[in-house]
Symmetry: C2
Subunit: 217 residues, 2 copies
Amino acid sequence: MTDRVENILRDYFTENAFKPGDQLPNEFEMAQKLNVSRNVVREALSRLRMLGMVESRPRRGMVMAQPDLLAGLEKVLNPLLLSQDDLKDVFELRLVLELGVSEILFARKTPEDMAELEEIAERQKGLAVLTKEDEIEFHGKLYDMTGNETLHRFQSMLAPVFDHVFAAYYNKTSKSSKLEQVTHYDLFKVLKEGTAAQFRTAMYNHLAVYIDSASSR
Amino acid sequence: MTDRVENILRDYFTENAFKPGDQLPNEFEMAQKLNVSRNVVREALSRLRMLGMVESRPRRGMVMAQPDLLAGLEKVLNPLLLSQDDLKDVFELRLVLELGVSEILFARKTPEDMAELEEIAERQKGLAVLTKEDEIEFHGKLYDMTGNETLHRFQSMLAPVFDHVFAAYYNKTSKSSKLEQVTHYDLFKVLKEGTAAQFRTAMYNHLAVYIDSASSR
C-alpha cells in the first residue's frame, strides 16, 4: 500500500511539474485525495524525505526539494547484503569508471591539481606497499580533478565493495607484476606529458590484474 | 527522529552481520530497545523496505533482504528536480561509462550478440536520422553484451537525463559532422574486427560532440 502511494505521489509531483521549493499539500489533504489513511501518506512521505525529494520547513509545512542523487545507493552498498552478482557488477562498474574518465581529466586538469597529484605520487614512490588509504588518496584525487562531484562521490562509495570483492575472490592469484608495471607516479607523468589516449592505456595497464579477474568471470 | 532510527537500524544490522533471509526483531521489540515510538520504527522500516533491505514474509514477520542496488537512484533521476550541477554530472557520467566499457565488451562478446548487433547497425544504416529509440536500441545492446545487469540498468536510467541536458544546453550548437564520422555501423565493425583500444577511440569519436560540450563547461 505504501509502495502504491509513494508511486502515486511521485507521479503527481512530476505531472504537476513541481519544482524544488514548491509548497506541497499537507498530509491530511493528500490522504483525503488518495482515499488512504494518514499513516500511509506519512510513511510514503518519509521515504521521499529520505531521498531528499521533500523536506519540512518551519511554518510552511512540506515543500519539494532537490533530491540527493546518491543517498539511496549509499545506503544499500553493503557487501554483506548484496548478491554475488551485484558485488561483481559493482566491481566492474568501478573499473569502467576508471577507464572512462580519461578525457574529462585531460580537459579539466589545472597546474594546482597537478602539483598536488605530483606530491601524492612522489610520496607514494617511496613506499614498499600501498595501503587502501594510499590507493584512495591517489585515485580520489583524480576524481576530484574531474570537477564532477557525483562521479567523485560515486566512486568513493564503490571502493569498499570493490575491495571486498577483490579480497574475497581474486586475492589468491598472486598480485601479478603487471600491477607494478604502471605505478601511480607513471600515471601522473602520462597525465602531465601524454595524451588522453595514452592515459587510458596506462590506466588499463595499471588496473590489468583487476580487469583480468573481471573479464574471466 | 526517523533519520536517526533508520541509521541506528542499518548500523545494528551491519554490526550483527545480518544476512538476507535472517529474521529481524519485531517492531514492538525494536521500539522498546531504542526507546522510541512504534510509529517511528514503522516509518524507518518502511524506508528500508523501499530500498529492498527488509521485507515482510507471511507468518515470519520482517526478514533481512537483498537490497535493490539502484532503486533509490531510479526514483530521484527526475530532470525537473535535480540541480543544474547534478544534471551535468549525470550527463558526464554516461559519457564516462560509454568510454570505459570497451575492455569488458571485448572480453564478453559472443557470435550471437554480434549477429544481433549487426542486424541493428545494418538496419540503422538506412535511416536519415536516428531517433532516441534507435540510439537506445544500439547502445542498450552494447550494455546488454557486457553481461553486467547493473551497468545496463544504470545507463538506461541515465538516458532520459542525458537527453534532457543535451537538448537544453547543447542543441543550439549544430550537431557537428564529427558525430556522423563514426556511425553505429562503424562501431560494430571495430567491435568485430578491431581491438579494445581501437573501439575506445571509435567510441570517443562517435561521442565527440557530447564530449566537447561536457569538457567546455
